[in-house]
């Protein structure tokens, strides 16, 4: 039965009236059509003009990034706006922003898997790719910020002639381990999830060289039931391991601040509030990327309004946790009766960076409250705009935390202001270009939605039948 868009719209209308949730896959799809639509985006189509144009734009930004890094290596970090008292500037702001964006991918792929949130199956591949690329961008900044990036390996525990070891009591060393573990586990999780789909690509490809490439990547996967059993065991275990990992990573990132004694950083609320903020910004970035992709590649059958709605709800919930974090920071400053904390908070709200602070409150707390309205949650355009606003807001949050805390510390003789330079902005814009370019390339060569996991969700698949049977028993 061919499903027209009227048909499915009418059906979802009926479901809505009955108070039932919409199906995760629009009616009319089957095993064959899922594989066809998703793999054909890669295998058959010529590269779409829009994608080429996007690649061109983002590649130009990557060139800018290379120029900025090259100049940095020649001159040192003096070309950036960082100087005492603000030694952390854009580099750390961008690092925390990017790594936070990465967190949504692991949340979607691991935590929602463990919670049996089947709607994740349409977006997990995409979100995991986003995680990898965001963490890659994040990892650049601390390396560049080292000043002598060519000796970065000194922070690794490598035996060398000087007999030096890393300082294990420093959160910056914890960061190295947390971020590199996170990247590695995200990479293998993504790749393991890809193996069966790479086999599908291999079997559907018509050109010899394409078959060979996907064949090598699929490693001879043949869909054996014995393999699937171990595969699912490994996948679940990985999800179980990635769940505490994702929480630990942003907690460790927050330790970079919270372990220090600087007012505005030294706060016990930082780890949970950073983790919530990370998920918040990550979901915003997933929506920013998914909404246009869904439109251009006609994936409305697989990424439905229900998916958008669910993601918007996660944003709303994590956004409220973030709002609670801001409130508690302010409350601690007042209730703690420490005059430096007190001053820091007033300075943050009404000092020279007052615009940044109130913009952040507007972007992260005020505007996202619109997500309480269902019509806004289910409308791709409004959701897209709000997701961009949240991305900006979360960047501002890190900017406010880093800059306003540092710029006026204990002695007024050492106060200063932070002014980013052209090279700061060029490096940041360059990483946005790098991130988007990798995303475009990923969409071009890999199945961007997990085909085998979608097939499990078809109404007549054994898993869905089993879930229905269990519901009936109750």
């Amino acid at each position: 039965m061919p499903a027209t868009s009227d048909n499915s719209a009418a059906q979802s209308e009926v479901l809505n009236r009955l108070g039932m949730s919409q199906p995760l896959i629009r009616p009319g799809e089957d095993y064959q059509s899922i594989s066809e639509q998703i793999s054909n985006n890669v295998l058959d189509h010529k590269t779409p003009k829009g994608l080429l144009f996007g690649l061109f734009l983002t590649f130009s930004l990557v060139m800018l990034l290379f120029a900025a890094i090259g100049y940095l290596f020649m001159k040192g970090i003096g070309i950036w706006g960082v100087k005492i008292p603000i030694g952390w500037g854009f580099a750390i702001v961008n690092f925390v922003w990017w790594i936070g964006i990465g967190h949504a991918g692991t949340l979607i792929s691991a935590i929602l898997l463990l919670l049996h949130q089947h709607w994740r199956n349409s977006i997990n591949r995409f979100a995991e790719a986003m995680t990898l690329f965001a963490v890659a961008c994040a990892g650049l900044f601390p390396l560049l910020h080292l000043g002598r990036p060519w000796v970065f390996y000194w922070i690794l525990p490598l035996p060398e002639t000087m007999g030096l070891w890393p300082q294990w009591r420093s959160p910056l060393v914890w960061d190295v381990f947390a971020v590199s573990t996170y990247f590695t586990i995200s990479l293998v999780f993504w790749f393991v999830g890809l193996i069966p789909d790479l086999a599908t690509m291999r079997d559907r490809a018509t050109k010899k060289w394409v078959q060979v490439i996907y064949g090598i990547l699929a490693m001879g996967w043949r869909g054996s039931a014995r393999h699937w059993h171990r595969y699912q065991t490994a996948y679940l275990l990985l999800a179980g391991l990635a769940t505490p990992l994702v929480i630990s990573v942003h907690s460790v990132v927050s330790f970079d601040f919270a372990v220090g004694i600087v007012p505005g950083w030294h706060s016990t609320i930082f780890p949970p509030y950073f983790v919530a903020g990370a998920i918040y910004s990550g979901f915003a970035m997933v929506l920013t990327l998914v909404i246009p992709t869904r439109k251009f590649y006609h994936l409305e059958s697989f990424i439905t309004e229900r998916h958008l709605d669910n993601m918007a709800r996660v944003m709303l919930a994590t956004g409220l946790i973030v709002a609670y974090g801001y409130m508690m920071e302010t409350f601690f400053a007042w209730y703690g009766q420490n005059k430096f904390d007190h001053f820091m908070m007033l300075n943050r709200m009404f000092g020279p960076y007052t615009e940044a602070y109130w913009m952040l409150i507007l972007c992260n707390i005020a505007i996202p409250q619109a997500l309480w309205i269902k019509r806004i949650r289910q409308n791709p355009v409004t959701l897209f705009i709000i997701s961009i606003i949240i991305n900006v807001g979360m960047w501002l949050e890190r900017y406010v935390i880093v800059v306003t805390s540092l710029h006026r510390d204990f002695l007024s003789s050492s106060w200063g202001m932070y002014y980013p330079t052209f090279w700061d902005i060029a490096t940041f814009a360059g990483t946005i270009g790098l991130f988007l370019m990798l995303m475009f390339m990923f969409i071009r060569v890999m199945p961007m939605i997990s085909m085998f996991e979608l097939k499990e969700l078809l109404p007549w698949s054994p898993r869905v039948q089993a879930v229905r049977a269990r519901r009936k028993e109750r």
Binding site: D30, Y31, Q32, S35, P157, G163, L164, W165, Q167, W168, R169, W174, F177, A178, T181, T184, I185, V188, F189, F191, V192, P196, A199, T200, R202, D203, R204, M219, G220, W221, R222, G223, S224, A225, R226, H227, W228, H229, R230, Y231, Q232, T233, A234, L237, L238, L241, A242, P244, L245, S248, V252, M451, F452, E453, E456, W460, S461, P462, R463, A466
Partner: protein, 178 residues
């Protein structure tokens, strides 16, 4: 041991339910060297083949313990013997500060052993496998459901097994060459 002339017999089925039923019947019949192929994990198929539960979780547990212990003792060694720093007489073995890295390395080694263990136990990567010789087997990654009885099975007899598979309402039965 003498090599059987063919790898086995492959039957194709139209739906996941059919292949699960067929696997059950095959197992009841006493066949042990069997395998089923499907484009996605089919619930109950592995159990229907009569196979044992995977021991992968044990390997992952061991990996995690090894990772955690080596992570902790690396830091212990470096901080206490390798490069001791006396800061105001504070203890060299400041274990609470070692927890984050211990935790990260636990996850890292456990996660990698899950992946490597899964691939290794599955015999992947594997450049060649006889089942790919079956015409139409490329459907196993799109919408095909297959059941294979291998020739090494003690009960295998090309005529009788083929007749048995046809009796399970297979769409078609074909010989798998080496």
């Amino acid at each position: 041991m003498e090599h059987p002339p063919i790898f086995g017999l492959m039957a194709e089925f139209g739906s996941p339910e059919e292949v699960v039923q067929a696997a059950q019947r095959t197992c009841e019949q006493g066949y042990t060297r069997t395998d089923a192929y499907s484009p996605f994990p089919v619930e109950g198929l592995y159990e229907a083949l009569g196979a044992r539960k995977s021991r992968l979780p044990l390997l992952v547990l061991c990996g995690g313990i090894v990772g955690g212990l080596s992570g902790f003792f690396m830091q212990y060694y470096a901080a206490v013997f390798g490069y001791p720093l006396n800061i105001g007489g504070r203890p060299l073995n400041s274990w609470p500060a070692f927890i984050p890295i211990t935790f990260e390395l636990t996850i890292l080694v456990a996660g990698l052993s899950a992946v490597v263990g899964m691939l290794f136990r599955n015999g992947l990567p594997r450049p060649y496998h006889p089942v790919f010789n079956v015409p139409g087997f490329e459907r196993a990654t799109t919408d095909g459901f297959f059941l294979c009885i291998e020739a090494t099975d003690p009960m295998f007899d090309q005529q009788k097994t083929a007749a048995f598979l046809r009796g399970l309402h297979a769409k078609n039965v074909s010989v798998v060459d080496h």
